[in-house]
Structure formats: structure tokens, C-alpha cells
């Protein structure tokens, strides 16, 4: 397909047209920091007006994952009594996630693999099948915590239907899938001219110049480096500061563990089963019936998280468990950094 271009002034009309067919979720400005009004806090929300969409956003607390897998989700309803009639709850409707950064595109591919393996997860997969992804490329690192280039998520080759690249007053529109083609039919795009292509080239060069590798080793060695660090004192040292609050997991775009609770009506006639994001950093995470907890110490839990992110998820799904988005470090009140941890263990062997 010929490279396409969309003028920025035509973006709103495109989003409006998409909204007639699908629920549109996109990054919006949530608040500014009371301490510093220039410190903008963005979040992923359903939008009511295309003018809310902020494709110039930097980072968000939760990513677009929350639309594919809500933080709290009813998975089953049932009656109490002789005839329980358990019914799976599969709620999904056509969505478009508009403005997904490359790291989150890559993370969603990890989730796709994780939720498809072994016993496929119908709740996630139903929503995923009904969701279109419009990605927006990053010209520069979103902040100092990210290391997406190292983790191989800055240049995703798939996982999106349309990729937008911002340059001046236009977007380059790359259509990846037939679904993407259908989405772009609603947009006032035009074929790229030679000048457009030169601007595209300039964006690519600037992007290359703006990102730098941050790990002192190639990421393919990460599983090996982790293996060698298993008995290191580093885990104990880092975990001294850890609150076991779980924010690193609950915000991570590739974490896929959940806990299940029964929500029973007060009149005891019916109930539903609800799952919520869980975290391997929480004290009760590895507690089993009888009260035994096989990861009692914060240090063993912290080590487990780092191994999940750098090795286990890769082993199990074939895709990286960490995309280098920096959310875990940003969310951590104790400033525990996965990037620094990876650097530290490489140096401490």
C-alpha cells in the first residue's frame, strides 16, 4: 500500500467517525500536579469528544491493558441453591484503542500469548478479538525511567492495525492489517508526496538519535544473567526498601496474574465471581490452603518478579515479560527500578 498522510487538522473528524462504530479509548490529560502545573498527568479513558485525545501524551499509570483486561472483572454469575446455573460472563463490544505507544503494543502481544497458552482465557480473548489498535510512534523517550529500546519494544513489527507517526502538522499513516484498512477508510488521508517521505526519513533519524541503550549488556543475555544472580545478596538489599505494595505489578502492562473472589448477594440467593489484578509482591500471593506461604520474604518475592519479567514469561510465552515501559519504577514509592536492578545484577556476579 502507498504510504499515506493525514493532516493533524483532520484527526478529530476521523476519531469522530470511528466513534460511530466503536467505543474509543485514548490517552487524555487527567490532571496537573498541584506542586508543578507544568507536570501533566495523563491517563487512558473512554473519550466523549475527539478534542480530549492527547497523542502528545508521555506516560500513564495503567496502560491500555485495562480495556482488554479490566482491573476488576466479573467472570461468572451463579444462583445459590439446588440449581446453581453457573454462567460465564463475556462482556465485549467493538473498541478502538487510539494512540497506543510501541511499548504497550509489544506488551499486548505478550498478553495475547499468555492468555492463549494452556487454558485459553475466553474473557480476555473475546475482548481482544473485538479491539482495534491504532498506535502512535514515540519520537523520544517518554521519561528517564523507560528502556524500551533495550527491551526490543520500540520498533514493534506487528500487534497494531494502524501506526501513526507524528511529523510537524501531519501524521504518517501505516496500515498493517485489513481491519486497519477499514479504519483508515474513514480518514481523510492522501498519498504521501516526496516531501512527506523526506520528513518521514527525518523523523526516523531523529528518533534513532534520541534513544540510547541503557543496559550494559544485550537483552538476549538477560535470562543467563538472572540465573547467575539467584543467590546474590542484591535481592535482600533491594527488598529492604520494598513495601510489598504491589504497585509495580498492578501497573505493569504485561503482568497477567489475578485473584478471584466471590461476591455473594446479602440475601444469599445469588453471587458472582470477580477477578482483580494480583501481584506477586503481596504477602499473601503465595499463601496456600493451610496457611503455608512459599514466598514469605520480600526478597524472594522481589527476585521472583525480576525473574518473571526477565526470564520466566519469555520461557513460557516466547515473548518478553518486560517491555521497558518504566511503569513499575514510576509507580514505586521506594524508587525500586527494574532497569537499575538488571544493571546491578550484571555487575555483581
Amino acid at each position: 500500500m502507498l504510504p499515506l498522510v493525514l493532516n493533524k487538522s483532520d484527526l478529530g473528524a476521523w476519531i469522530e467517525a470511528l466513534a460511530a462504530q466503536r467505543r474509543v479509548a485514548a490517552p487524555v490529560l487527567k490532571e496537573t500536579s498541584p506542586a508543578d502545573r507544568t507536570d501533566l498527568k495523563f491517563g487512558w479513558e473512554y473519550i466523549a469528544d475527539p478534542a480530549e485525545v492527547r497523542l502528545d501524551y508521555t506516560v500513564t499509570v495503567l496502560g491500555p491493558k485495562k480495556f482488554l483486561w479490566p482491573a476488576r472483572q466479573t467472570v461468572m454469575s451463579y444462583q445459590i441453591g439446588a440449581d446453581p446455573r453457573p454462567t460465564a460472563v463475556l462482556d465485549h463490544e467493538p473498541h478502538v484503542l487510539f494512540g497506543v505507544h510501541p511499548c504497550d503494543v509489544t506488551a499486548i502481544q505478550t498478553l495475547d500469548a499468555a492468555f492463549s497458552k494452556d487454558i485459553a482465557d475466553p474473557h480476555y480473548l473475546a475482548r481482544r478479538a473485538d479491539t482495534a489498535i491504532v498506535s502512535i510512534d514515540c519520537a523520544a523517550p517518554c521519561d528517564e525511567t523507560c528502556f524500551c529500546l533495550d527491551m526490543g519494544s520500540l520498533y514493534p513489527e506487528a500487534g497494531y492495525d494502524v501506526m501513526l507517526t507524528p511529523e510537524g502538522n501531519r501524521f504518517f499513516v501505516e496500515v498493517k492489517t485489513p481491519l486497519g484498512e477499514a479504519l483508515v477508510e474513514k480518514a481523510k488521508v492522501r498519498p504521501a508526496t516526496k516531501q512527506d517521505m523526506q520528513a518521514r526519513q527525518k523523523f526516523a533519524e531523529e528518533k534513532r538519535g534520541n534513544f540510547h541503550f541503557q543496559l550494559p549488556f544485550e537483552v538476549k543475555y538477560l535470562p543467563e544473567i538472572l540465573d547467575a544472580s539467584y543467590d546474590s545478596l542484591v535481592w535482600e538489599a533491594i527488598a529492604r526498601r520494598c513495601f510489598a505494595c504491589g504497585s509495580c505489578n498492578t501497573t505493569c502492562p504485561t503482568c497477567y496474574c489475578w485473584d478471584v473472589d466471590d461476591d455473594v448477594a446479602v440475601d444469599l440467593t445469588k453471587g458472582c465471581r470477580v477477578r482483580r489484578y494480583d501481584s506477586c509482591q503481596l504477602d499473601p500471593f503465595a499463601e496456600v490452603a493451610g496457611g503455608e506461604n512459599f514466598r514469605k520474604d520480600r526478597s524472594s518475592r522481589l527476585r521472583h518478579r525480576m525473574f518473571r519479567k526477565g526470564k520466566y514469561i519469555l520461557d513460557q510465552t516466547g515473548r518478553s515479560g518486560c517491555v521497558g515501559c518504566g511503569r513499575c519504577e514510576r509507580a514505586c514509592v521506594a524508587d525500586i527500578s527494574i532497569k537499575e536492578t538488571f544493571i546491578q545484577i550484571a555487575g555483581s556476579r
Binding site: R241, F243, A244, A265, V266, L268, Y277, L282, P284, A334
Partner: protein, 250 residues
């Protein structure tokens, strides 16, 4: 099974937790349909000789409170402590860090000699408590959950993870990152959907600490943030449950 007999009563407190129970309104109807109310101080008069479950709010600040909770304990199969005052001593504990005579003077005034005031303490300091629903005030949803568990004969378990979990699930920007130190990092969750950070306020620890709080790390982080030991203690002292742990190390 015979219809269980419930009772609701108060020790020293603002009686806000009892009000929260009444605030459950129509959600209470199934409970009232399945159980008898032997006594509900805040809603009506009357009493019965024996209860299956007693829900008691308030902390102990006078020797009268001790007598009262002992009487209730003797008359009930199950005692459920309702709210921060009952479970951790609550804001009443603030008086323990001040001169007792001063406190008596400005609280009871002229008639202070009539009141046998003693240092404040939670109910479990005097009698065996079977279940606790913390919070200032308690979260009605959690009260209903505990009541449902009791009716089903299923154990009621409080969440054993910090407020941060529910805060992140609500997609909140952390208050620490907006320049406000928040105690959610060590405080037991369970206040959703009413958690303070969702309304822009810091968590002040009204539900007490999680089972294994990293209070040392909390103090380190608060110190790095620029708070003095006095500031840190003030944060932790508002609800005594937190003071216990921290005072050992301070």
C-alpha cells in the same frame, strides 16, 4: 438453625460506624429478614439476655467502658469490633500522648471527677474479639460482606495487602508523586470504593497496618521526602494501630 440474634452497641466514639450500618438502608433488609435484633442502641430501646453476634463500635476510655464490654462479651457468642476506635483505639488514642489531667480538663471540664477516665485502648485489650471491621468510619460494603459471611457460616477475612493495590486498580496517580506523603503503602486495604486517594486525599491509616508492614522503609522514604521524626510520628499516631509498630523503632 434458629434465627440468629444480633445486637449493636457503642463504647466511647462518635457513633459514626453505627450510622454507617444504618446507612446500608435497604441492603440491611435481607439481614433483618434472616435475623432478630436483640438490641440496637442507636435505632431503638430494649434488650435481650443473650446474643449470637454482638457488633460493638467504640474504644475504651473509661472504666465504665471496660465493665460494659465485659458484660457484652459474657452475653454473646461472637463479638465483632466495628470501626477504628473498636479495632485499634482510633483517634481516642491521641489522648495517650498528652497530659491526662489536661485532657480531662478540656474534655470533661468541671465534672471531670465524675468520669473514671483511663488511657484509651481498643476492645481487644480487654476482651476476646472474634472479628474486626476496621476503618474510620467503617466501609458499609465491608460490613455487609462480613454479615454475609456470618450468615453463610464462612470465615470473614480482611484484605492483607496495602491500600496501594486498590489505589492503582483505580488508576490513580500516586500522591507521593504529587508531593503528598500518603500512608497507603503500609495501611490495610478494604476501603474501596471510598479510598481517600481516589478523592485526592492522602491515606491517614484509619484501617491500621497490614500484617507485615515495612514501617522501616516507610520511615526511610518519609525521611528522604524531608519529613522530620516528629512529622512521621504525627502521621502514624493519628490511628494508634500504626503507632504501636512504629514507636518500637522510633
Amino acid at each position: 438453625m434458629a434465627r440468629p440474634v444480633l445486637m449493636f452497641d457503642s463504647l466511647s466514639c462518635c457513633e459514626g460506624c453505627g450510622l454507617q450500618v444504618i446507612n446500608c438502608e435497604t441492603d440491611l433488609l435481607p439481614i433483618l429478614a434472616a435475623a432478630d435484633i436483640g438490641r440496637f442502641r442507636e435505632a431503638s430501646d430494649g434488650d435481650v439476655p443473650h446474643y449470637n453476634v454482638a457488633f460493638v463500635e467504640g474504644s475504651i476510655v473509661t472504666s465504665h467502658d471496660i465493665e460494659k464490654i465485659q458484660e457484652i462479651r459474657a452475653k454473646t457468642d461472637i463479638l465483632v469490633a466495628l470501626g477504628a476506635c473498636a479495632t485499634h483505639g482510633g483517634v481516642n488514642m491521641l489522648k495517650n500522648f498528652q497530659d491526662p489531667d489536661d485532657v480531662a480538663r478540656y474534655v470533661y471540664g468541671e465534672r471531670r471527677a465524675w468520669v473514671p477516665h483511663i488511657p484509651a485502648r481498643p476492645q481487644k485489650a480487654e476482651v476476646k474479639v472474634d472479628a474486626e471491621i476496621p476503618g474510620c468510619p467503617l466501609n458499609p460494603a465491608e460490613f455487609l460482606e462480613a454479615a454475609t459471611c456470618l450468615l453463610m457460616g464462612k470465615p470473614f477475612r480482611l484484605p492483607n495487602y496495602p491500600v496501594c493495590v486498590d489505589c492503582k486498580l483505580a488508576d490513580n496517580v500516586c500522591l507521593w508523586h504529587k508531593g503528598v506523603p500518603c500512608l497507603g503503602i503500609v495501611t490495610r486495604a478494604g476501603c474501596k470504593p471510598y479510598l481517600c486517594p481516589s478523592a485526592g486525599h492522602k491515606c491517614i491509616g484509619c484501617r491500621g497496618l497490614v500484617d507485615k508492614p515495612n514501617t522501616q522503609a516507610a520511615k526511610d522514604v518519609m525521611a528522604e521526602f524531608g519529613l522530620t521524626v516528629q512529622d512521621v510520628l504525627r502521621e502514624f499516631r493519628l490511628f494508634q494501630g500504626i503507632y504501636d509498630e512504629v514507636s518500637k523503632e522510633a
